[in-house]
Amino acid sequence: MPSKLYPDAAAALAGVTFDGMTIMSGGFGLCGIPEKLIAALKASGVTGITAISNNAGVDGFGLGLLLETRQIARMISSYVGENKEFERQYLAGELQLEFNPQGTLAERIRAGGAGIPGFYTKTGVGTLVAEGKEHKDFGGETYIMETGLVADLAIVKAWKADPYGNLVYRKTARNFNPMMATAGKVTIAEVEELVGPGELDPDHIHTPGIFVQRLIVGTDYEKRIEQRTVRQREQI
């Protein structure tokens, strides 16, 4: 098997980026985002991006970096509340935005990656989300049709990988990453740790290596926290 391992994010992106491309980017808020690949996309200068991501990062971090440089033309997201630059560009008409219910977004990506072009869901029936979509009744209930999503490139963040591209995620940093890994024409995974062949228990692999074409190991992960909530220890 040719090596999937690239020396860094810029090398992994070489030859796969082009203006006007569609990119899926994993993460929920700033948790489990591909920090290194986003930074390298910024440096690559690729523009006119349609970004499919649950959120839009914050000012100065995550996809916020690509908004600042106007590299993103359109976003498909479920919630974007944490980003002033996003709001400014959107209100100025500089950025197109398509809201999807979070479960519909997740399922569209899962379906796209599984070769399923469309599916029916109750989510959004009777709301703005249903406008212009096919309605169909099953067992007396109304559903709307949603389409599967694929991307030219999926960038995902995992905790560990082996050289075959098998991935393991950590805690709630998993979120959208596993589905996105399946839905990229090219999927690049960045991980905190590369382990040797056989070191991942095959029963515990979250993303099988067939979905991952390129792999990089990142260092010095920033892992910014949006809401640092704590409790106090009882004083004895």
């Binding site: 940093a173 979120n175 926290i225 809401q227 704590v230």
Partner: protein, 211 residues
Amino acid sequence: MAWNRDQQAARAAQELQDGFYVNLGIGMPTLVANFIAPGVDVTLQSENGMLGMGPFPYEDEIDADLINAGKQTITQLDRSSYFSSAESFAMIRGGHVDLSILGAMEVAENGDLANWMIPGKMVKGMGGAMDLVAGVKRIIVLMEHNSKSGEAKFKTACTLPLTGKGVVDMVISDLAVLARPAKGEAFRLVELAPGVTLDELRVRTEGAFLA
């Protein structure tokens, strides 16, 4: 004397039954976790991919890879499991979650819910709210009875874009509990907050309910 936010949350906690899987929305619904009765064992679902959500961490336990849907740092429990967003919403949309408690801008007398968008203002997105109301077995709304400008939030019909049609089962406001035995039926008054009269409730409510 109406209920305060903690008292509203405590009232909502009475709706939790032993063994329930529950999703709590952001804001006031989060407070419900503080009032779960002893002997009632519920498992909290967080739609970003966790079942069995624990309390906030001590300072030295904070883990950036462990957050809830409000992006707050949390902890895991003995029972916890992690999963992808697709599997999380399979739980929600597949009808496996017993109860969701959400906030609202407006609820209509037919159970319509609006809680995600005010036209003309910056829209942040619906997140998982539309999936929750479409798929979770029972939907309870925790809200102020009237808006800051004094308008009734339980209305004849919603004026804001909907999150879901006919989806609300119970409303717990600072004044009263309104509920209906099944979707499609009328709301009826279940309980008044201490010191609140039926006349006062009627004056401050626009939508119809049975008393």
